[in-house]
Symmetry: C3
Subunit: 170 residues, 3 copies
């Protein structure tokens, strides 16, 4: 089944949709969380996501070392990565080479046999942001999404919890 | 025919598309306007929308009491609600319980036999907003859209005036 | 083949996709660039776009006079316009009549026999911008996209480099 990329806006239901894709397969499922709790708002959001997932889910934290975590997990474990946009933010704030990180991620994905579902935000459909960091992030997120969409077997754009199938390779 | 949810960005042509859906049925049609004229920009926009609609349209204002208005209108009147995003904004600014308001709206929709077309903005596809109120609004709007999309028979995402059918329940 | 409108977010891969549409036809292809290098960020972006295009492309600059440039180019030259959103920005900053400019553009497009591919940003899917100029721009961009989508034979919404066909007139 390979890689599925689930794209969507904030509060679009993309995480719930992505979890549903995994739960169609036999448990257990791996959940790689990339969120870092910088503040109360984020702590609350992480706890909410975690409480929603039931038995059968094994959670792993990878705010930065996503490729290494994918390499370490059992070869037959289906995995959900939620989400790439936070992972990219973490690397941006750490001033890492975003193109190199993207390349390592794609290499790790290519090494996995079991299904991987990637959740990512689409952030480029608003007005050009005022500040340069936000514009740099928007560019990096767009490039990452493009490169992963090219690699993925399946790309889904989620609107209001509903999937629009953008790519479904045979 | 039940509930149709028409989603789209600012100036995407979603209102015109939604009006066209109603105008395919026999007149009269009900138009529930949720806009409040806070400033000149909004006053002008409301007047423009009103002047575009021709004979056959009956306009009702419901900046807040949307569920009650839906209950009061004749059971066989097809209705357009334009738009949910302004209605949600009005409740947010009034510091109301947004989840409770959403639940009342869904209950009122479930009670109506005649078609209802709901127009709403998709606002979550840009960069994370700087201010907390905008983030809270974005979350609430996304949750409302998801819950209504689940209830609706038909969900349409409008891009540049053109419909993409996201859901079409049998 | 007429007019194709390629819509997408920032870094969505819309330019690359649009170039691919032209390159399916025999060379040469005309490239009308609308970008003006206000700052280093933009200068770099223009150079990057230009270096990506290979032999077979003839570049013309039209930051403002897009309709006139379309009229002057050989009648059988397939043309890519990249992008309408920057062209609209240039007219907005020059305080020109945006509706009149849009009308002139549509008239020039109607006069061309050879294929024209138009690239434009969708900018209305985020939170309402704080400043009035950004809101005015968002409205103008949305109206322009709607009017061109109505005129176009084909409209494509690009997400992460992948096309969603929104309109394909027979």
């Amino acid at each position: 089944m390979g890689v599925t990329l689930v794209l969507g806006g904030a509060r679009s239901g993309k995480s719930t949709y992505a979890e549903g894709l995994l739960e169609q397969m036999p448990a257990p499922w791996g959940y790689i969380a990339t969120a870092q709790a910088y503040d109360d708002e984020m702590t609350e959001r992480i706890a909410l996501h975690r409480s929603r997932r039931g038995a059968g889910w094994q959670t792993f934290d990878a705010p930065l070392a996503l490729a290494a975590t994918l390499d370490e997990l059992p070869a037959d474990l289906p995995i959900l990565v939620d989400c790439l946009t936070l992972w990219l933010t973490n690397h941006l704030l750490a001033d890492h080479d975003l193109a190199a990180e993207g390349a390592q991620l794609r290499a790790a994905l290519a090494r996995r046999a079991a299904p991987v579902v990637l959740v990512a935000n689409e952030v480029g459909l608003g007005i050009v942001p005022d500040n340069a960091l936000a514009r740099r992030f928007r560019d990096a997120a767009g490039r990452l999404n493009q490169s992963l969409a090219a690699q993925a077997q399946r790309v889904v754009f989620v609107v209001a919890g509903l999937p629009m199938i953008v790519k479904d390779a045979p």
